[in-house]
């Protein structure tokens, strides 16, 4: 695949979208930089797929605009937008061979036969499926089908690449290797890419920046590390990795209208006598590298993960323990 002449940015502003009385997207504003690998991350029903479909032209917003490379795409139907989308189900046409599937978009663009053949071969080579050109999609494994779907999309050299939960139909092992392939491919092509997922690990491992969504709203935008270290609200804190969230009923001094948030591995267990926070161990789980304890604090329960070294003494359920929490690890977020 020849590199696109120049990566393209996406500007979304003031977007509201409703289906009947359901307000699916609320005041969406986003700026995606050229060449960025960007994720829409959120639980199902948060509007992430709808936002993706809006960019592809399969959904219409009531207000706001989507600029692709500075151009408003609202008047363009899906078939004139030049945004390549890889569907969650891959949507490979079962009545066509792999090569025919990949050639489809090029044929629709009325390219000369020789050019089509050349680009199909190139796209299949890029995803390592040259030997499978004459197979039917049904004869391929899930991972291979996924690669055909990607090849079919990048063959048209789209302005941006949209991936709708591309890994959800793969088994756990495949998922890890395919997401690395996707990242490598995106880097090579320098293509602005949006990746929709509900899996924070997927988003964290391959994306440059993430927009966390919930309830039709963008909760926070940032790099994976920013989101993890400085979540803007309780939802983001809870959705990216596990977090302990405490209110005043825990007996911990917390400013009114706020919650105390900290990660399980940022606290440590200590002797109960010297600690400001203390309570009984409610359960214990051995996870290999770490041991996870549940500790009751007032009316709340927190999880604390401590590294496991062989020979180290474990606490038992019922033991009174102290909880040490360094002040710099404490986050106070609006309730």
């Amino acid at each position: 695949m020849s590199k696109p002449a120049r990566a393209v940015g996406i500007e979304i502003s003031g977007v509201n979208l409703s289906y009947g009385s359901t307000h699916v997207l609320k005041d969406i504003a986003l700026s995606i930089r050229p060449g960025e690998f960007f994720a829409f991350l959120g639980p199902s029903g948060c509007g992430k797929t709808t936002l993706l479909r809006l960019i592809a032209g399969f959904a219409q917003a009531q207000t706001g605009q989507v600029l692709l490379d500075g151009q408003d795409v609202a008047p363009l139907p899906p078939w004139k937008r030049d945004v390549g989308m890889v569907f969650q189900s891959y949507a490979l046409w079962p009545h066509m061979t792999v090569a025919k599937n990949v050639a489809f978009g090029l044929e629709e663009r009325r390219l000369p036969r020789g050019e089509i053949d050349r680009r199909v071969a190139q796209a299949l080579e890029l995803v390592g499926l040259s030997a499978f050109a004459e197979r039917r999609p049904a004869q391929l494994s899930g991972g291979q089908q996924q690669r055909v779907a990607v090849a079919r999309t990048i063959a048209i050299e789209p302005k941006v690449l949209l991936l709708d939960e591309p890994l959800s139909n793969l088994d756990a092992k495949m998922r890890v290797s395919v997401r690395r392939e996707l990242r490598a491919l995106q880097q090579r092509l320098g293509l602005t890419t949006i990746f929709v997922t509900h899996d924070q690990e997927e988003a964290n491992t391959i994306c440059d920046r993430i927009a966390v969504m919930d309830g039709g709203k963008i909760q926070q935008v940032g790099t994976p590390m920013e989101l993890y270290e400085h979540p803007a609200n309780l939802f983001v804190a809870n959705f990216l990795g596990s977090a302990n969230i405490l209110d005043e009923k825990s007996g911990v001094p917390i400013p009114p209208g706020k919650r105390l948030v900290f990660r399980p591995q940022h606290a440590a267990l200590s002797a109960p006598e010297s600690a400001a926070l203390r309570g009984p161990v409610t359960h214990r789980e051995f996870l290999g590298a770490t041991v996870r304890y549940g500790v009751r604090l007032g009316e709340s329960e927190v999880l604390i993960e401590t590294p496991f070294q062989s020979g180290s003494e474990l606490r038992s359920v019922g033991d009174q323990v102290g909880v040490d929490l360094p002040p710099r690890r404490m986050l106070f977020l609006p309730a």
Partner: protein, 560 residues
Amino acid sequence: MTSIRSPGQIALALAIALFLGVFLIVPVATVVYVAFTEKGGGGLTLVNFLDFGRTDLFVRSFWNSVYVSAMTVVWASVLALPLAYLTTRFEFRGAMLVQTLGFLPLIMPPFVGAVAMQLLFGRNGSVNLLLDEWFDFKIGFMEGLNGVIFLQAIHYFPFILVNLSAALRNIDRSMEEAAQNLGSHGLRLFRRIALPLALPGYIAGASLVFVKVFDDVATPLLLNVKEMLAPQAYLRITSIGIDDPMGYVISVVLILVAVATMWATALVMKGKDYATTQRGGGGLARRQLKPREQVLAYAVVILILALVLAPHVGLVLLSFATVWSFSPLPDGYTLAHYTRVLGDSSVYIKNTLLYAGLAAAIDVVIGGAIAYLVLRTRLPGRQWLDWAASTALAVPGVVLGIGYLRAFYGVSLPDGTPLATLWIVIVLAIAIRRLPYALRAAYAALQQISVSLEEAAENLGATKARTVRRVVIPLMTGGLLAGFVTSFATAAVELSAVLILVQSNSDAPLAYGLYVLMQTPAGRGAGAALGVIAVLIVAICMWLSQLAVDRSQRARGMDI
């Protein structure tokens, strides 16, 4: 599932096998056997088939039948394609109208409206009289073979519409969105993606239409077209006699064509069973039509629906008409035909209700039993019962009628009357013809019942037989009822087998009476009145069956 073979199950299977053997396999085998033996009971021979090939009339009839069936498929597709495309791909208020009215032809077999359509579209029918008056030309809708094609296409296109629409609706919407995303849209997208994916549905509908038209006896005869194969079989047997081998040879050819069509269909469909049904998001995104497109869409829909309704409108007009010829509308209106039909011809109606009711009851019992044996037991050879019952699909009605006549004419009752002349034989023939449909309904009903419900009953101490009676049958009632009503409705208008088997007017069902009455101008009005009554019976039944299915599904709290 347990694999205990109870003696009850074995007895049931044997009884069904016996029934199918005597009333389906033996008659059909007799027909085939006679076709291959010398006239007068000699040895096996191919001479009859050589005669068939050397007789101009038969060869011409054969090609006429092929031509008419093929052209019917073409025209039925022309009617069905735009309707299927419009209703499945566009936000279109006419869609509901198409869904309901589009299926109207199914409740009336084509022969019922044949004469009425002559009066509307014939050389001197309403449409041509008006065309002649306004524009000075006529269109030969109903001339010769064209008339058969025209009528059959109007009646059978819903088979293609239903199958094609279902197939189009079942395509995962991402299939088409992916194509749009890659730059395709409109008719080109439909041609390259939607149509190929819906092809299996289309082919299923088209082959059904082909076979049905090929086997139809009454419609060509009522339009006075004799040079087609199925009518020739009927004419040969009724005019020359049951000893003439040609009727049997034609029958074998009819069976071969039906089997070949189904085989070719299976061959084409092989590897094309694209199960692309909805994996991800909901239904298809339907596109809004622009105002100009709306006008065009409505024009197409209204034109097609007008054609669809024409036989019904014509039939109703004819049933109330005093005299109707050489004029766009009848000269006057009367209730006399209905009084006549409800008076001295009421025996037809009574017979129909009796025959169709008995046939449907037989079908539901046997269909339900076969479904149970196949799905719930491990009886060896149970699949054969299913196959045997389903072969009835490939046996044209006229062939079954001829087979019954030949196989049972020699069998006499103690008082000397041949078995073949008894009215119960008509019932059995109809029952065999409708059995495959009842069988599908029973399968569907049984498949919805989880095996664990039965296992729970057995676990709590119920025997197999009691489990069937107390769990399976109550849960299947809705589905079986729907199967009964559908069988009843279609049995009520069955004619091709009946035509051969009816020996006296007093034993004749409604469809036969209609056929006889329609032959003479004087009887047309009464025939039409019978037709209207038949359509009403069938329509009410279809509505009841829908009701039965809905209600039983709701009662079980299932999503419809």
